[in-house]
Symmetry: C2
Subunit: 255 residues, 2 copies
DNA sequence: CTAGATTTGTTCGTATGTATC
DNA sequence: TGATACATACGAACAAATCTA
């Protein structure tokens, strides 16, 4: 055998063939500007193109699937189809990372405060009549839920209010982070429940803040929106602290 | 239409066996509290345990590998080894998500401003003598780099200053987000370069801010730390805007 | 509604490369 | 140096899912 041996350091292991193919397919998707709905060549074609066996191709496709770039479907017209986005894949990966770290909600709110203030000011002027109506409807639905004593559903609707603001933002990074925190808080309320009377006071306060926010949005007053949002976050943190909330620690296994 | 079979079909597909196994291995790792360095059973053992073939096991392990939970190593004492963490996997996934979205640096700084202020105030009282010395050394190294005209290296060192603050934080979520933004800004400076005289003024201003921050940390004054950091971020955004910076759009292919 | 065609999903057997002893 | 254990890769099949005629 000629010098095909590992001339480099032992730490520089040979790159697995399936990883090389996955990397190359990534580049192809980016280079050829493949859009959601388009399909990659089927397994047999890929086997011929890369001159390798079926199992190797399947491992490469599995990597792309886990990364959220494609979805696999069996049958005719099946195969690897380009996925629209991978926001949930990114969020799930971030959850995995946070799984082993203990997070108390005070830390979460230290992050949320700054982010939501930025979100509130940034969406001013970007909410059309339909979006504002959606916010009004959310507030009404939220009020109805609390009036019916369905506090968990009310809390979820409150968080949906903030998700709606994310929809209106043109800042993809800010929107992702805010949505991610909302999903963390959703899990919190799902698994801890809480005292009913405390929740009622909490919900009433939040509804008032949301109404003030919508007023600021209608007046297109970014300063007011930021100020109201700041107070809103501080109040929410205060309530959550009194509820002695803590995050569940099994984010990994949960979907 | 009469009862078409595909009314809720897409979500109710049969779960692939390899995905079931990957999910189960995830649970096992979490349930048995497996720590970094420990190894999963080898492929033959897993084949027996799950009663399936090699290819299926390999696909499942590939999924865990892409998710950053394990690394595969050949040879004796090889196999799937639990990975310490997957911070870079989460960051890479987030980059993938942001790839197709256009992000200007004004949006990045809208996020960074709130986060870094929270970071600055949260690390007050958590920096021991060694950490403070590390910040001093970073400032000195940064100053030396700018004096030598190595502006790119200086800019990287400036960002390292903020990474050091992340190291000192006990807020895993906040630290992750700040580090992620630092990595975005690192790519920015790597690929755009910039005017030398503008960079020099930018660097001098940043060094001054960093010194003021360390003073606030030594005095253990959270209010001052937050205020200085806020001004620091506003100035940085202002400079970046004048540099007409923009983010590279090929985050996907890059490592 | 059935039947066939197409493509992924899965299995088995075997061979090769690589790291440890 | 050789032997061993293990991941890596190949190739040929079969099973299951899904579309089309």
């Amino acid at each position: 055998m000629s010098g095909t041996a590992a001339e480099a350091a032992p730490s520089l292991r040979r790159i697995k063939l399936s990883d090389q193919i996955a990397e190359d397919l990534c580049r192809r998707i980016a280079r050829e500007r493949m859009e959601p709905g388009q399909r990659l060549p089927n397994e047999q074609a890929l086997m011929q193109q890369y001159g390798c066996a079926k199992g190797t191709i399947r491992e490469a496709l599995k990597a792309l699937e886990v990364q959220g770039l494609v979805t696999m479907r069996p049958g005719p017209n099946g195969g690897a189809e380009i996925r629209p986005i991978s926001v949930d894949a990114a969020a799930q990966q971030l959850r995995r990372f946070l799984h082993f770290r203990q997070l108390d909600f005070a830390q979460v709110y230290a992050v949320r405060r700054g982010l939501e203030v930025a979100l509130g000011t940034s969406v001013v002027g970007r909410l059309d009549a339909e979006a504002l109506r959606g916010l009004d409807e959310n507030i009404a639905a939220c009020e109805a839920a609390f009036a019916a004593g369905e506090h968990v559903r009310g809390r979820n609707l409150e968080l949906t209010f903030h998700d709606l603001l994310c929809d209106a933002s043109d800042n993809a990074l800010l929107a992702f982070m805010c949505r991610f925190i909302n999903s963390l808080l959703r899990d919190l309320v799902e698994f801890r429940g809480g005292n009913k009377t405390e929740y009622a006071a909490f919900g009433a306060h939040n509804l008032d803040s949301h109404r003030q926010l919508v007023s600021a949005f209608r007046a297109e007053d970014p300063e007011a929106a930021g100020r109201v949002m700041h107070e809103h976050m501080c109040c929410a943190e205060h309530f959550m602290r009194r509820l002695d909330a803590s995050f569940r620690n099994d984010l990994l296994t949960g979907r």
